[in-house]
């Protein structure tokens, strides 16, 4: 009931981003969402503390959850921006696979850490660029363009690796995620995730790029009339998503000590699910980075909780599905109430 009155008092302006400071009602609505997500995390923590007190509340376990959230988290940041901008990127998992394979070929490994990182990021950006050009200038529907990229990037990865696992032999890369690799007690992967998330937040909330993204996603026609170069904006969004995939691929390489064409399997679904749970509207124009980060954490924590309690994967999948449905239903409900147009 409370949220209803809140929503009614809010102006129907989905193109207004959070942090614009224009509508207090809208702002508090977003905060409510985030608070609710934090509440979910809290409930999960309580369940973990009751069922497996020794293992769940362990510092190592918190680190584990954060590490496991890192690569998919970075992908989700890029996905969130794309969705806010009115698009969708189904190719993220395949790009991660291709980048991780390309960066771990023997030829690339000869160039050491820097070469592998560069290769990984370059492949990600390259794929994103292709997506962006096809969508912005080839006028392909994002769903189709990125679906095509999904198929061909994974196929390319498979061909390049011959279906095999490419083991990393560069110590500098392996040392990034060795047993005792920590900076101020935090694993480097988690720091990268936090860095990308912070950058994503700044870009979305404090830059023209972010405002344009929200505008293009919320109402492309209005954005065009306001003088925003929609094509350029769309192109850049897919490049950003590709960049995130490249970074995530490198993180996975460091984490698993290898590159494989099966890397990033179903990341597109995990990233979309996490973004949606975090409050990003699938039709674009609305979403937050904080929400997406919390969405990722919720999923990882659930998986961790199930594993600690020795619950089998079929049950895990059922629960994951149920959570997505519940989140979308709530989103549907609230967005219908808040939008009167």
């Amino acid at each position: 009931m409370l949220s209803k009155s809140d929503s009614l008092s809010a102006p129907a302006a989905p193109e207004k981003p959070k942090g614009n400071g224009s509508a207090a009602g809208w702002q508090s609505y977003v905060d409510l969402r985030l608070v609710a997500l934090l509440g979910v995390l809290g409930v999960l923590a309580v369940v973990g503390a009751i069922t497996k007190p020794d293992q769940f509340l362990d510092v190592d376990n918190v680190r584990l959850i954060l590490v496991q959230s890192s690569a998919i988290g970075v992908v989700t940041i890029g996905m969130t921006l794309v969705i806010i901008g009115g698009g969708i990127d189904l190719s993220v998992g395949a790009i991660v696979a291709l980048a991780s394979v390309w960066a771990t070929t023997q030829a690339t490994q000869d160039y050491g850490l820097a070469g592998m990182l560069f290769c990984s990021v370059a492949v990600g950006v390259g794929c994103g660029l292709v997506n962006g050009v096809l969508i912005a200038f080839g006028n392909l529907v994002p769903f189709i363009a990125t679906l095509a990229m999904l198929a061909s990037a994974r196929g390319f990865a498979e061909q390049m690796s011959d279906g095999g696992t490419q083991i990393v032999e560069v110590d500098a890369v392996l040392d990034l995620m060795a047993a005792d690799s920590r900076i101020l007690g935090i694993p480097p992967l988690v720091l990268i995730f936090l860095g990308v998330a912070a950058l994503g937040w700044v870009v979305l909330n404090r830059t023209t790029f972010g405002r344009r993204t929200v505008a293009v996603g919320g109402n492309p026609e209005a954005a065009r009339l306001a003088g925003i170069d929609i094509k350029r904006q769309r192109l850049l969004l897919y490049v950003v998503s590709g960049l995130c995939c490249g970074i995530a691929a490198f993180m996975l390489i460091a984490l698993s000590g290898s590159g494989q064409n099966t890397n990033g399997n179903l990341y597109e679904l995990d990233a979309i699910a996490a973004a949606i749970i975090g409050g990003t509207l699938l039709s674009g124009g609305r979403g937050t980075i904080t929400g997406s980060v919390l969405g990722v954490l919720v999923f990882t924590t659930i998986t961790n909780l199930f594993a600690l309690n020795n619950v089998q994967s079929a049950v895990q999948d059922i629960a994951k599905g149920a959570i997505i449905v519940a989140a979308v239903l709530i989103q549907h409900q609230t967005s219908r109430k808040s939008s009167t147009q």
Partner: protein, 339 residues
């Protein structure tokens, strides 16, 4: 001993057998030696091969084994289709091989049950089918089935671990399975559990399922290590995901347990040989079965039996043994490890 001798001098046997000349061999027990397949070129055979997409190491090794075995024979032409995980596509590929009138078909279905009709169709068209590993739902759909033994894999993994932990009280064992929605995963787990029942001192304390990928292996193993602070042995179903499993173990800094792998990748075999990690053994699911399938297909095409057996015809089904590769016999198996 007798079989070994027969195998070595198979060529000699054959010459004598095909000329219906018997009795003067020193292996005199073969009163009616079957007309067996041998290395010397015979009637030319075209073998059609349809398999799934080689998207991981083991399946890749399957294709390599089939190809290199076929190249070994001058009389064999291998018509190999582009692998596909889509049943409809694979049915189409088998159809086109039937239309090309290949002499024999070797089919490794993406999904055995779903591909049954394709096998039946080939058999009805008079093309003998060698069903490789993933079995058709209907025995009429194949002339010969050859494949691995998932239950036996679990059984042998369990036995090896059981023997290693003999005499240790309250021993704890952990299992990391592969894709849980596959029947083969369930069979492996059943075999493992059945073997462990013979060792009352052992309790399986946790089981999680990864997805045959390095990434999932690393993730699920990290979870398992966190869930079970101390255990004595673990079985990982699959060496492909094992790369990630080993990485997770290294990252945890733990080494209080022994680990047994599954399938037989080169990376794991190298670790067993080096003996510098928790990996002490792996249970085979040998990709060399594809090479054997080519042998069987060739024999079928030339209407011969297989050497080393008294039968006139090749058997209807051959289940391979999941040998345990440990430090004791690693040198023998090292060349068969796949990437």
């Amino acid at each position: 001993m007798l079989f070994g001798a027969a195998g070595v001098s198979a060529a000699a046997f054959l010459t004598s057998c095909t000329s219906n000349d018997e009795g003067d061999d020193d292996g005199g027990s073969e009163q009616q030696q079957a007309n067996v397949s041998e290395d010397k070129p015979g009637k030319p055979v075209t073998i059609g091969f349809a398999g799934p997409e080689a998207d991981h190491g083991w399946l890749n090794a399957i294709n390599d084994n089939a190809r290199s075995r076929a190249e070994k024979y001058e009389d064999v032409t291998l018509d190999i289709t582009e692998g596909s995980n889509d049943t409809a596509t694979q049915i189409g590929q088998v159809d086109s091989l039937i239309n090309k009138k290949v002499d024999v078909l070797v089919i490794l279905p993406a999904d055995g049950k779903a591909m049954t009709q394709a096998g039946l169709k080939a058999m009805q068209a008079g093309i003998p089918v060698v069903n490789l590993d993933r079995i058709f739902a209907n025995p009429q759909a194949y002339r010969c089935w050859i494949g691995g033994d998932n239950y036996g894999m679990g059984l042998n993994a369990g036995r090896f671990i059981g023997e290693q932990l003999k005499g240790k009280e309250n021993a704890k064992v952990v299992e990391l399975a592969g894709l849980d929605n596959l029947e083969l995963t369930q069979q492996r787990t059943k075999g493992f559990d059945d073997a462990l029942k013979n060792y009352p001192n052992i309790e399986k304390v946790a089981r999680q399922a990864a997805e045959f990928t390095v990434e999932s292996g690393q993730r699920k193993m990290s979870d398992l290590l966190q869930a079970v602070p101390e255990f004595d042995a673990m079985w990982n179903h699959d060496d492909d995901q094992g790369v990630g499993v080993k990485r997770a173990i290294d990252q945890s800094g733990r080494d209080e347990f022994i680990m047994v792998g599954g399938a037989g990748s080169k990376a794991v075999m190298d670790s067993i040989k080096a003996d510098d990690s928790v990996i002490k053994a792996t249970v085979l699911y040998p990709p060399s079965m594809a090479a054997s399938a080519i042998d069987l297909a060739r024999a079928l095409g030339q209407q011969k039996g297989v050497s080393g057996m008294a039968e006139f015809e090749i058997p209807a089904s051959i289940t391979l043994y999941s040998a345990v590769v440990s430090k004791d016999n690693i040198d023998q198996y090292l060349p068969t490890g796949f990437n």
